[in-house]
Symmetry: C2
Subunit: 394 residues, 2 copies
C-alpha cells in the first residue's frame, strides 16, 4: 500500500487491496450512479439533491429528538445554498473553520457563526475579526491565554464583548487544552474582556482505523463534562457544551453535551462508509470522471487526478476513491490530472470514453478543488451551486 | 509512517523520521525565509522573485546550450505572469495539462500550446477544443485510435487540421503506448484527418524513491527515439520529440529529444530537493503559516492544513512539509485547517503566533489551493499575482 500512497508505486502495488476496501466498494455498489448530463465537462462534482436533503433531515431529526442543537460545519460543502437548507431544516447556526468561511456566510446573511478554531487575531485578521463581530453573532474558539488576549485586543473597540468557547482536547491531541486547564484559559479570556460561554471539542480520534467510535464519543462527553464543571466551579455560566465530528455526532449527542457540529454527514464519503458512520446509499456527492486512456494493460486512466480526488487516504483504506459500478477496481495512483485505476484480471473495466462516478475518500478537500457543484435528482442535473467559500483557508 | 500518512496517527508516529527527511530539512535550512509582510493573512503562498527568475533563466540556459526547445508546463504555477516570464526568457511555448489551462493561457494571448494529455473530446470539450484550435496554435496528445478519432471529429469543421503527438510510455506506466504501438496510433490519427507531428513522453518514474533518475531519463530518450523511428518508417515526418519531468529534464535533454516540458523547476519543492533534482536555495515558493496552538505538549499547530499543504507525500519522505527554520520538526499530521508539527524534545519550537515558512512536499497541488501568489524580493512582498488557471482541471 505504501507505493500507492506515494502515487509513485507500480500498479502491482495495488494487488494488496485490503479486505475492508472490497467490502466498502461492495457496499457502495448500492449507490445510485447518475446518468452523465451531456452538457458537463469532466471532472466535475455531482450532488444528488434527494440524498443531500435526506442526510440533512436525518441528522436534524436525530438532534431534535434528543434536544441537542445542530450547528453543521460548513467546511465540507462551503456552499451558501446548502447552509441555507441546513438552517431551514432546523440548524441552530453554522460552524466554520476560518474567518474566510465566516465572512462568506455573513455576506450571504448567515450570521449565527461559531468559528470553532483557535483564531490567531494578528495583522489583517484582527481587523477582519472586528468587522465580522460588528455584523454577526460570532463565537470564537480559544485554547491559549495568549490567543484569547489577541482576540480581545482585536475587538477592544467593539460595542459588545466577543463570545468565546474553550477548546478541550478529548483525545485527538490536535488543538485544545486538557479539561483541568480549561478554567485557566477561561479566566485569562475573561480578564482580557471576552465573554466565555462554554467549551467545545472535536472527537477526531473517532476517525482512526480500528478505533471504537463509541469510545471517542464517550471521551467527548466525559471530558466536556469535566471541563464544564471546572468552568462552573470558577464562576462561569456554561451555556455551550459542544461536540462534533460526523463519526461521533450521534453517539456523543447526550447530556451534558448540548450542541453537535458534524460536517461530512451532508455528503458522507468513502471513509465514512468504511467506518460505518454513513450508509452507502447516503453518499450524496460523487466525482464524475472520464476514462481518457486504456493504453497500459491492466488499468484505465481517469481525468480526475490529485487536483480533484486529492491524495487523502487513511492508512486502512486502499486507493484514492471507489468506483461503485466497478467494485473490483482500485484507484491505485493519482497524479495532478490522472487517476490510474487498476483492474484485476477477469473483472469488468470501464471503456475508453466512459464517464464513471468516483466516491472520494474524504469529501471536504475534494469540494475545495471546485468552483461549483452540479446538483440534480435521479441522475438528471438541474442546476449549479457555487462553492462560495472555496479556497477560503484564511 | 503509516499513521502520519493517514493524518490520523498519534504524534508518536513521527518518531520514525527518516534519515532522508532530516537531510532534506538540513539542506532546506539554507533557504532564505522571508520576513512576514504585515499586511498578509496566513496561510498564503510567498514567491521569491529573484529565485524564481534564477530558476527560469537556469533551465532556459541549459536547454539553449543544448539546442533543445523548452516548453514549460504551466500546471505548476497556473500563472499568466510566470508563463510570460518563461516565454520572455526564451521558452518555445507552454505545456498545459487540460483544456481549461489552455483556455486561460489563450485568453492572455499565450497561444503556442501543447496539451500534453490524451484529451477525450466529447460533449462540451469537443466544442471547446474546436474554439481553442481556431484561435491558438495547439498540439494535443493522443494515446489511442479512438481518442484521436474524437479529436478529429471535434475539429472536423476547422479551417486547419489539428496537430497531435503520440504519447509514449517510457516507464511510468500511466498513459502512453509502447514505442512499437506508436505507428498504429499515428496511422489511425492520420486516417482520421489529424496532423501527426511527433511523439512525447513523461518520465515520471524518475520521481520514485531510490530510482536512478539517469535511468529514467535514458528510458525517455531511448524509447522516444524508437517511437520516432517507427513513425518515420511509417512515412511520418517527425518534427517533435518531446520529453519532460523536472527530475529528468536536464538528463534527457540530448538527441534525438528536441523539446523538454518540465514544470516544477520554476519553484522546486521538498520532494525535488530530496531527490537531488533541485538545490535548497532554489526553492522559490513557501507557504507562510501561523502557529495557532501550542496546547498539546511536544507539538505546535499551524494554520496551513490539508487544504493548503495537501496530503501529497512520497513514501520515502516523512511528514507533509519542511520548516527550514526548524529542521528537527516534522509536519506529522494535517487536517483541513490544521497542521500538527511534532517537535523533538530539546529542540527549538516556533512560538505561539509566530509566522513560519513551510516548504511543501509537492508544490503543484498546493498552488492550486490558492487564488493568488504573494511575490516579493528579499523577504519583502511587492505584489500579488493571480493563480489564473486555479481549479481548471477540466
Amino acid at each position: 500500500v505504501t507505493g500507492s500512497a506515494a502515487g509513485t508505486g507500480s500498479i502491482a502495488g495495488s494487488d494488496s487491496a485490503a479486505t475492508v476496501d472490497t467490502a466498502t466498494c461492495g457496499r457502495l455498489r448500492r449507490l445510485a450512479v447518475p446518468r452523465f448530463p451531456a452538457g458537463l465537462a469532466t471532472p466535475c462534482l455531482y450532488v444528488d439533491l434527494d440524498v443531500l436533503d435526506r442526510n440533512i433531515a436525518a441528522m436534524q431529526a436525530t438532534m431534535d429528538a434528543r434536544g441537542i442543537a445542530l450547528r453543521p460545519h460548513v467546511k465540507t460543502h462551503k456552499s451558501v445554498a446548502i447552509a441555507r437548507r441546513q438552517l431551514a431544516a432546523g440548524a441552530a447556526g453554522v460552524t466554520v473553520g476560518t474567518l474566510g468561511e465566516a465572512e462568506v456566510m455573513a455576506d450571504a446573511g448567515i450570521t449565527d457563526l461559531f468559528v470553532a478554531y483557535p483564531v490567531w487575531a494578528a495583522g489583517p485578521k484582527a481587523k477582519r475579526l472586528a468587522a465580522l463581530h460588528a455584523r454577526a453573532q460570532v463565537i470564537v474558539g480559544i485554547d491559549s491565554a495568549a490567543g484569547a488576549r489577541g482576540l480581545a485586543a482585536a475587538v477592544a473597540r467593539s460595542a459588545t464583548s466577543l463570545r468565546v468557547a474553550v477548546e478541550i482536547d478529548s483525545g485527538q491531541h490536535r488543538t485544545g487544552v486538557t479539561f483541568d486547564a480549561a478554567a485557566g484559559v477561561a479566566v485569562a479570556a475573561r480578564d482580557a474582556g471576552l465573554e466565555v460561554i462554554g467549551v467545545f471539542t472535536h472527537g477526531g480520534h473517532g476517525y482512526a482505523s480500528g478505533a471504537d467510535r463509541s469510545t471517542a464519543a464517550s471521551d467527548e462527553v466525559r471530558l466536556l463534562g469535566e471541563a464544564a464543571a471546572r468552568l462552573g466551579a470558577a464562576g462561569f455560566t456554561v451555556s455551550l457544551i459542544s461536540a462534533g465530528s460526523s463519526p461521533t455526532a450521534v453517539l456523543s449527542a447526550v447530556a451534558p453535551v448540548n450542541e453537535e457540529r458534524p460536517g461530512t454527514y451532508v455528503f458522507w464519503d468513502r471513509q465514512m462508509v468504511g467506518l460505518g458512520a454513513g450508509e452507502p446509499d447516503a453518499v450524496a456527492l460523487v466525482v464524475l470522471s472520464t476514462v481518457v486512456s486504456a493504453a497500459v494493460p491492466g488499468q484505465v486512466v481517469l481525468d480526475a487526478g490529485a487536483k480533484t480526488l486529492t491524495k487523502d487516504r487513511p492508512a486502512w483504506l486502499d486507493g484514492f476513491g471507489a468506483l461503485p459500478a466497478y467494485p473490483s477496481a482500485t484507484v491505485s495512483r493519482v497524479y495532478d490530472y490522472h487517476a490510474v485505476v487498476w483492474i484485476p484480471p477477469g473483472t469488468p473495466a470501464p471503456a475508453l470514453g466512459e464517464v464513471v462516478a468516483v466516491v472520494p475518500n474524504h469529501v471536504c478537500p475534494v469540494v475545495n478543488q471546485f468552483d461549483e457543484l452540479v446538483v440534480g435528482r435521479a441522475g438528471v442535473a438541474l442546476e449549479r451551486w457555487p462553492v462560495d467559500a472555496r479556497g477560503r483557508s484564511d
